[in-house]
Symmetry: C4
Subunit: 251 residues, 4 copies
């Protein structure tokens, strides 16, 4: 039986109910992911290409993801210099900069230490493609299998970007996770999926049993579905639930 490729085009996507700026969306990413385990207290940072010059909107240093609002985001150059904003940015902004320089598709780069990804980082393992949603990372996973200390300058940034290559999800050994998307929506959805993949893989490793990876011929259609209509359904629902809980994230 061949895989049918869906031509599904939703007629009536349930809306969020409010127009959002890119900066507001980026603040919301912090809150959504904080609720999904991206919350080793104040660890982690996110960047988003903010304008044609390549400057980045970045997480404020010192705030926890669960308290970030749109007005807390900072503008930084690709050299890591803060251009605007009330707060500092992390000295580890260089985790992000070379990826933005070298990959036009990497508009949003998420870095944090969610538990299950960090567990795989201590085991030196990548998550496996053993369930449908994991297919969004088919052919796009990288294990950065060498720990070189904090990423605090251009050289370290270049080194890291070379090892991540064209991947959309990476395990940084002894460190944490890196997830990349072309938009805030995509980076959020992929990040949510990434830590769940890591949990399944870690639990599979604990069982000592073989796992069932999805056959390559089925992955393409699923990867496509998760990049198109599924993405909006994920984001809109996540946003409705977030805004019902705390609309001040948009401030």
């Amino acid at each position: 039986m061949a895989t049918t490729e869906t031509s599904f085009q939703p007629q009536a996507m349930a809306p969020i109910g409010v127009e959002l700026t890119e900066r507001q969306k980026l603040a919301c990413l912090h809150r959504i992911l904080a609720g999904l385990g991206f919350n080793e207290n104040m660890a982690g940072h996110v960047t988003m290409v903010g304008d044609a010059s390549g400057n980045l909107w970045a997480s404020p240093w010192g705030l926890w993801w669960d308290e970030v609002r749109a007005s807390d985001l900072c503008l930084v150059s690709l050299d890591g210099e803060r251009l605007d904003g009330r707060w500092d940015v992390s000295p580890a902004i260089f985790v992000h900069t070379a990826l933005h320089r070298t990959r036009p598709d990497a508009r949003v780069v998420v870095h944090n230490h969610p538990y299950h990804a960090t567990l795989l980082a201590t085991l030196g393992r990548l998550p496996e493609i053993t369930h449908q949603a994991a297919c969004m990372f088919d052919g796009a996973l990288a294990l950065v299998d060498e720990y070189q200390g904090q990423v605090l300058d251009e050289d370290a940034s270049t080194w890291l970007a070379a090892r991540v290559g064209s991947a959309d999800g990476a395990i940084l050994v002894s460190h944490g996770a890196l997830v990349i998307g072309a938009s805030v929506e995509e980076a959020t959805y992929r990040s949510a999926t990434f830590d769940r993949m890591c949990r399944l893989t870690a639990d599979g490793l604990m069982s000592g049993l073989p796992t069932r990876e999805i056959a390559p011929e089925h992955r393409t259609a699923l990867k496509q579905a998760f990049r198109t209509h599924a993405l909006d359904a994920y984001w809109n629902g996540a946003m409705r639930l977030l805004l019902a809980d705390d609309p001040t994230v948009l401030d």
Copy 2:
């Protein structure tokens, strides 16, 4: 010592306190199960035979289970065509249709990717009958041990229904869970029990130790008890707790 079969007939079942339509009950199923791990963001769908012609009430595509209300449910034909409703239905509605066509007892079909069932799906294992409540699935479990991509047309639907057979609970390898009941109440109670069975089985596998399956001669009486008086006690309590938390599910 022989198993005594209970003739227990409750005299005073604690009521829900409100009359519910079938459609309202189906909305409540989404919320109850979302609180029990059936919440891989917007994944999953449920169908219920809605009238004599066999048309189905189905989950709205694009809403998360934790936000579904009665008025969000859609009516679809057994061919997967939407007949009524504000929202789309999932193109994977074909997970459900052939089961409804071929099994008169399958009035309600629940599909989602709850964590522990999905873990067994990556290990290619069925949950074991190692505790009392699991007996409700005695002789009624199926492992669909081949992953054929998304279920997006009649052929795939027929293929899946043939592999599920007469089971009430199934693990779909590399995919998730399928739970079937003769009513919303039964499908909800079975689904809640199914993921817990999967958790016990997965943890048992991680220990590497042998597990104690319940002897076949004890299963029948328990299966009967869980299909009769226990069912109302489960549903009424779950509903009281849900409605105290958010009565708008009935809208």
Copy 3:
């Protein structure tokens, strides 16, 4: 170095702030334990010797532990006959009756299927005495290593009580947990500790590593401490937190 036995006598125990009847305390036990994993939906029941004739206050059948109030408790005879109350009692009340008949110290008997105890019940294992609080069960654990179906009559009750013997905590294989105390306070504290012990033991089994049981010579002093001043500190704190959350449990 010898173990010092504490002569600690608190001077100023933080009070609950309200006088409670025995029946109110029993209702509170349900709520406290429901918050600690004794919540396989509506499963489980508790009994307490209620008067000189040996009649028992028992959990109402059909309510979930998280919704029980004092006025919901039922009075039943040691023969399992309901004498008073708005609701039925479980037909499995015979889990309790023979224990009350044969053990004067068993004023309160708690039965449910908390997750980690149920996991050990599927593995056929007792929790180990590997940390301080576990010492409250030193020499008082029983594995009922045979599953005989539901406990629905006097014969089954006698059979079970004989296998539990003088234990205060028991794993019922393929079934769940049984915890016994001389008072509501003691039964609550022991139950809370029991499932945590089971979790530590199960996780230890998953690691495949040897565990460190506390040497017998240290257990006696700890067991005594947990039966005296620690008991009030546990109960009063648990009650303050419960009543701040929902005082209607006392109704």
Copy 4:
């Protein structure tokens, strides 16, 4: 590639918004850690050097950490005698006293039985340095690998302090965790990190796979970072979230 040592000096640390006394900070430590697993009901106690004479502020005996307020803390001498306060102090205050006597850097000593540390305590294992934050304990971990009963007098206190030595984090076999800091802020941050390290280590042990410890040459810079600017970011964020939830902790 050499590790770059950051010279990062935040220009604009997000404030807590209220001035706090040392005693208020100590009350807040109880609440923050109770939310992070330091909550085996009423177990555990914390001490802080309170004045030049070496007297200690200590947790009130009988209150749960989740209900402690600043006015509940008690003043005790280094001999364990209560000097001031509404409540008793634990007879196990001797877990703390010899450490304060012998280590001027040990201004705050935290003891409790958080789950994952207690799991390692039953396995007789220390947490490993396998991720960045764990570096704050580089060269500063001790396994007290002998269980000698409760610590209820000066002799036991001296015995324990000798085995902890200069460590900032210790696993007490069959018992729990001990975390030491030069300030409330540091002790809180270290405690939060300690139980997470223990969870990663325990899960790694369950997998049976080798783990990736961070190379010694990278640990020093990370340890320094976690002792300086990271500390304020942790504490201020934790405090903002706590005070938004329940400001009465300061009473």
